[in-house]
Symmetry: C2
Subunit: 318 residues, 2 copies
Amino acid sequence: MAVYTEVSFEDLERLLEQYDIGAPLSFKGIAEGIENSNFYLQTDRGAFILTLYEKRVAEEDLPFFLGLMEHLAERGVHCPLPVKTRDGRSLTTLNRRNAAIVTFLTGIALRRPDAAHCASAATALAGLHKAGEGFGLSRVNALGPKGWRPLAEAIYGADTIEDGLTALINTSLEELVSHWPSGLPGGVIHADFFPDNVLFVGNLVGGVIDFYFACNDAFVYDLAIMLNSWCFELDGSFNITKGQAVINAYRQQRPLSEAEIAALPVLMRGSALRFLLTRTYDWLNPDPNALVRPKDPREYSKKLRFHNKVKHAREYGL
Amino acid sequence: MAVYTEVSFEDLERLLEQYDIGAPLSFKGIAEGIENSNFYLQTDRGAFILTLYEKRVAEEDLPFFLGLMEHLAERGVHCPLPVKTRDGRSLTTLNRRNAAIVTFLTGIALRRPDAAHCASAATALAGLHKAGEGFGLSRVNALGPKGWRPLAEAIYGADTIEDGLTALINTSLEELVSHWPSGLPGGVIHADFFPDNVLFVGNLVGGVIDFYFACNDAFVYDLAIMLNSWCFELDGSFNITKGQAVINAYRQQRPLSEAEIAALPVLMRGSALRFLLTRTYDWLNPDPNALVRPKDPREYSKKLRFHNKVKHAREYGL
């Protein structure tokens, strides 16, 4: 949850002079997104989200994120559409922060999606992968294998969280980096396709939000992130019914190649390691201004240990 | 800003079964109210606020607060209207908290209201005082003179905030408690009528919110709280034009008696002391879970020092 930077009504009025979106009727800071300050804005012409970008989002990445949302929205993906200023810019500044206004999406994130929700979300993920084609900008995955080692080296005291966590991280890191697949079909991926970022209206996906980790990488890596975050139960068990629902719905939109299927187990481990690393780091180095509890890294050490025993994509429901 | 208790979509669905307000379309934690957890809820039938009451609001006071909002709303005051469950209750429970759903009010709080806004708000305050008549419940002002001494005694180290603050508090406390006026016209007051709690649509008051300090006390004490929070400029000077706007607009709705006018200077000092005390205490004892920066007590020590030199209500614009 986050409102790091305050915005007064007077700041808002000044900002809205740059836009042609009507007069403000309601304006509230919302507890959403841990990286930025977000506000719900209602005007006489519609509902919007105002985002002020805080330091964790690199300024040079903003044209990629905003341009991507525009590209996807134009191709029918239900994602926030950046609203342009009168002089055609998606990005502006407010209170010494970069800022953007995007359309507000109806829908609610589920904490415990069922198999039908999983299938709808997987269909949306495949649609997003296809719609990203032709987007002119690219962004390296800063949290891909090359980013893991510096992150692991910055972690001190992982064993205070869980016995053997340092060894698990180091062993997995060496093995995954040396066996990481290349040449898989790829393009723009969401890279944070968790249930928090998918808004449902009933059983249908009303919107996909939070593109601030999006980057260019293997599509099946995005599918692995989704399987990791949608298909485990609270008790840590993998729900193969949900796994099947995700994989089948995805394949109906975008077939998986033999190479992608073969790579899935190692990508499941890799994506588990990626979230294990950032959660472990954030757990040991909490940001005093973050206004949010760090997420428990043990959720992902458990998942990584599960994947270490998996031999074939069949075990995920393929 | 505050979301102390999380509410999942599944929790929400379970809650909404008790109500007849339609299906949820949007649900977001909002950064509003420092005492409770608040969520914006949109359904196919309207917009609402869900509040979960945290420990700072006493359970036994909830019928007063909710009943008051209902009483006022029925009499035309633009305030949140508690929505009843199917079996007629305004109050329910969720995630081990007392909880209520109220209607969402359009409008935006201003940080720097001008004299016209001050007049509109004062008209609304007088309307609120008149509309409270006949409300069947009552609540002692826990932050009135009798509450100040225990609060002052719980404060250690005020001089670390500002030289002489302890002496200012103690001297003012003794003098005010021994000269506190009694027998003034009274009834239900808002007791926290700050610009944050008045929502404007253009120059008109669209709503008054946050009734969680409301109580029975002298009406003119509420006016003093308003003058203190609306009529000082950021540089600490009292803006007599705004003071006149407030007092004149208020008097047009509810005439002030000689006794009320005579009491105004001491009530200005008293209401300044009341906010100085709570802010000083909160500054020295920050709640680690509060997710909000304590407000600067020096704003109110400055106001109190200003009032200590005032001899007559004329100096406030009467």
